[in-house]
Symmetry: C2
Subunit: 150 residues, 2 copies
DNA sequence: GAAGATTGAGACCTCAATCTTT
DNA sequence: AAAGATTGAGGTCTCAATCTTC
């Protein structure tokens, strides 16, 4: 279900403003940041993305004129991702319809209690995902130290 | 959340039996089908996949010896996807741990009413996704017959 | 022409290696 | 050595042709 939902939202954004869902996810925090700039690692962490993914994605977005990259002077290893005019325009045009679409497809007809319990559910799954991997199926190792292998 | 959940399940399957989640999804219906054979279009429809996606994926799985393709004699346009021995072995080895993993990560601690209402939620979203796209943002078409076009 | 299937191009994501700076 | 970031390779998915058969 979530796969199809994302596909649908992706297509709507594509037709509305020529953005993918991933583009949208990148543009939102940028548009809310002071001066439309964020350090790459902060952006990646906020999105829960790998650095590498952000780097590739920003490269593609840069080619399309949605964002720019700038070197960071304070920490010369670092880089900023900066919202470009085209990016600002695109996100401002896309946002209202996208928000309404999510409301309609996902939240319509849900009571606020249902929304709350849905939120609690996703939180509980996320907690279990953060928890250390306890090997799931093997079963035969009683309680020894984790085998470092493979 | 679903993205991370899928990533986790994907990794566990990979380490358990060298399968991706998509491989698993293909192998399950095959292993339940008579003689381990299904027409490609049935398999695709059952999975909710595009034909093209299935074709690419089956090609990769065939290289790894998990499935085979056979021409259909009754309808010479068609093709069967056939479960190979390696595929049968892989799915039988992977299934128990995978099922347990899903149970643990997703359903653990949920009451049966919560499971029911979660199911109802996903169904209602799916229904809205099936429903004709009503254009979301434009708003200027009053109420005419649905435009037949794309 | 429509249905079943395949193919190639392009976008996307992950992993491991790499480079620079701290 | 560790942190920030980039790069290339390889797997994956979508879209738009294409091919064959109905």
């Amino acid at each position: 279900m979530t796969t199809r939902l994302e596909a649908r939202l992706n297509h709507e954004l594509q037709e509305t403003a020529g953005l993918s869902l991933a583009d949208y996810d990148v543009l939102v925090p940028l548009s809310e940041a002071p001066e439309g700039r964020l350090r790459a690692f902060e952006l990646a962490a906020g999105l829960g993305w790998e650095r590498s993914r952000l780097s590739h994605h920003v490269a593609r977005m840069e080619r399309r004129g949605l964002v720019t990259r700038e070197d960071c002077v304070a920490d010369r290893r670092g880089a900023f991702v900066v919202l470009a005019d085209r990016g600002r325009t695109a996100i401002e045009e896309a946002a209202p319809a996208h928000v309404e679409s999510v409301r309609h497809l996902v939240f319509e007809g849900l009571s606020s209690e249902e929304v709350t319990s849905l939120g609690a559910f996703t939180e509980s799954v996320l907690r279990r995902l953060e928890a250390p991997v306890d090997d799931g199926g093997g079963g035969s190792t009683p309680s020894g130290p984790p085998t470092s292998g493979s």
